[in-house]
């Protein structure tokens, strides 16, 4: 199989009233990998070495709504679930892909992988901004209204609203079970994050979830899909 990098190519996807930037970072042969960044981040110019060295298929990266080169909505309204729909739009474009998410992107990746089990044969959850979320149940409510200290992305509304996103353990666990039961005989769910908020601890507790390095996870997933 050949493996080569190509100039980053960006496709804009219309999703509802938002425009999403989907970047093709690497061409290659084999299953695709879709990278989902952390809260406030954007798709990197090129895949991190731990990813590029372990994956020989095409590698894509999505900028979530309000992040990177994607559009900024008026007046916020962000939820993790809207980002799941963003990633679903990217998945429709790519067709099928292993998902690898950092931080908030890890949570999003796991939910999408649990719902689109045919299109997502594996998922890797890694450390990154927004991994903790807003706890397992709501705290004292507030009016979320960030100071507009800069223009452009990341949208301050996204940073403020997505930081308080509630993630119950049994909710996360349900999606982990959807993933695990859909792919018997393989290990479709890898946790590579060192930081383990309660939702992620609950996921790790599920039988069949593997822990290890990003390189280990991607190598195993690519081998199992060959």
């Amino acid at each position: 199989m050949s493996h080569f990098t190509s100039p980053r190519h960006t496709t804009m996807l219309r999703h509802g009233r938002n425009d999403l930037a989907l970047h093709r970072l690497v061409d290659g042969e084999g299953p695709s990998l879709l990278l989902l960044h952390g809260l406030g981040e954007a798709t990197p110019a090129e895949p991190p070495p731990s990813v590029a060295g372990a994956w020989r298929g095409p590698i894509y990266g999505l900028d979530f709504t309000g992040h990177g080169a994607s559009s900024i909505p008026r007046g916020g309204g962000y939820t993790s679930e809207t980002l799941v729909a963003d990633a679903d739009a990217a998945l429709r474009h790519v067709g099928s892909a292993v998902l690898m998410g950092r931080g908030l992107g890890a949570y999003v990746a796991m939910i999408l992988a649990g719902l689109r089990t045919e299109e997502v044969p594996g998922v890797v959850l890694a450390d990154g901004p927004g991994i903790a979320g807003g706890g397992t149940e709501p705290g004292s409510p507030s009016i979320v209204a960030p100071a507009q200290m800069w223009e452009g992305t990341p949208d301050p509304w996204a940073l403020a609203e997505l930081a308080t996103d509630v993630r119950p353990q049994d909710y996360a666990q349900a999606f982990a079970r959807f993933i695990l039961t859909a792919h018997p005989g393989r290990h479709p769910l890898w946790v590579c994050a060192h930081v383990r908020p309660p939702w992620l601890e609950a996921v790790v507790d599920e039988a069949g979830v593997l822990e290890g390095s990003i390189a280990d996870a991607l190598t195993d997933l690519e081998r199992s899909l060959a």
Binding site: G75, G76, G77, T82, L115, I143
Partner: protein, 316 residues
């Protein structure tokens, strides 16, 4: 352009080819209904919110929050009655509903912020708040967020319970997965989506599925104030990208946990006739959460839309 998939195919709503459609003039009068006396717009961080008012502009204000998939002018009977009692009744179309802007994103945070913008535009004092259904849940949260703006709280069948949620985890997860996939598939078909056009009678019949206890005359009237007439027919104004239910971890008890700490007089009202648009809540689901001194009314023979079914019932 695509049309909302949750609506029946043409003809399926009983619009006969030979029937003579009602006109807006014929359907636009309902006993006791009065359109708002004033309209204004509030900017909520770039999203335009339509605010309406009934009653004397100098009367003491009260805020009335409508439920999900409703709009402010569903209060066109009850709000004038309150205005007659001496109130300046202020309501608003939640984002994506009625005449407010269709937004790029929708969330509980955003609805809370929009409501705060409306109250801020209305008064700098504590005033009574009324909320129906989702509006009831919203006002319970706002009472904790903005206690200095709330003097009394009335909740009209906006007291969620887990009655419709299975006890068994597998069944619960299956229900969640089905709802989440439905929502995700809906999100995948948003491009160019618009509401299907129809006659006044046709739109009223579609809405009858959500308002099963309401009269055809009331629903036909609602079309004239909640839909717009295009060249090819009437369309509900509500954003076609919105969909009931969906993906997310929200739990009814999270909202009910706001109740015990309320520091203002509270009246909870429960319609005892179970409807799909409600939560199936029973009195026992509520009583444990009531704050000290609360008044709790259970209306026999009344469904979820208590303010429309029994607009004359009102606490003294």
């Amino acid at each position: 352009m695509s049309e909302t998939p949750d609506e029946p195919p043409a003809g399926g709503d009983g619009e006969g080819p030979t029937s003579v459609p009602l006109t807006a003039e014929q359907a636009g009068a309902f006993p006791g209904a009065r359109r708002p006396d004033r309209r204004r717009r509030v900017d909520s961080s770039g999203v335009g919110i339509s605010v309406v008012e009934w009653g004397d502009a100098d009367a003491p204000p009260l805020l009335f929050a409508h439920g999900g998939f409703d709009f402010a002018e569903t209060l066109n009977v009850v709000a004038p009655m309150l205005a007659e009692d001496g109130w300046r009744v202020v309501s608003w179309d939640q984002r994506g509903h009625g005449d407010s802007d269709h937004a790029e994103l929708y969330s509980w945070h955003a609805d809370t912020r929009d409501a705060a913008a409306v109250v801020h535009s209305t008064t700098d004092r504590a005033i009574p708040w009324i909320g129906h259904s989702k509006g009831g849940v919203l006002t319970m949260q706002l009472s904790e967020v903005l206690p200095h703006r709330v003097s009394h709280l009335i909740n009209l069948d906006g007291l969620p319970s887990r009655r419709f949620v299975p006890d068994v985890a597998e069944q619960r997860n299956a229900m969640m997965s089905e709802a989440a996939l439905g929502w995700l598939n809906h999100r995948a078909t948003l491009e160019g989506k618009q509401r299907r056009p129809g006659t006044i009678e046709g739109l009223a019949k579609r809405r009858a599925r959500m308002n099963i206890r309401m009269s055809p005359e009331w629903l036909q009237y609602l079309v004239t104030v909640g839909a717009r007439e295009d060249a090819d027919g009437w369309r509900w104004k509500i954003d076609p990208t919105l969909r009931m239910g969906g993906l997310g971890p929200w739990r009814p008890e999270w909202s009910m946990a706001r109740l015990p700490g309320l520091g203002v007089p509270f009246l909870g009202v429960l319609g005892l006739q179970i409807e799909e648009m409600g939560w199936g809540t029973r009195p026992g689901d509520v009583e444990a959460y009531l704050p000290p001194g609360a008044r709790f009314e259970q209306l026999d023979g009344i469904g979820h839309f208590v303010h429309n079914e029994a607009p004359g019932w009102w606490p003294t």
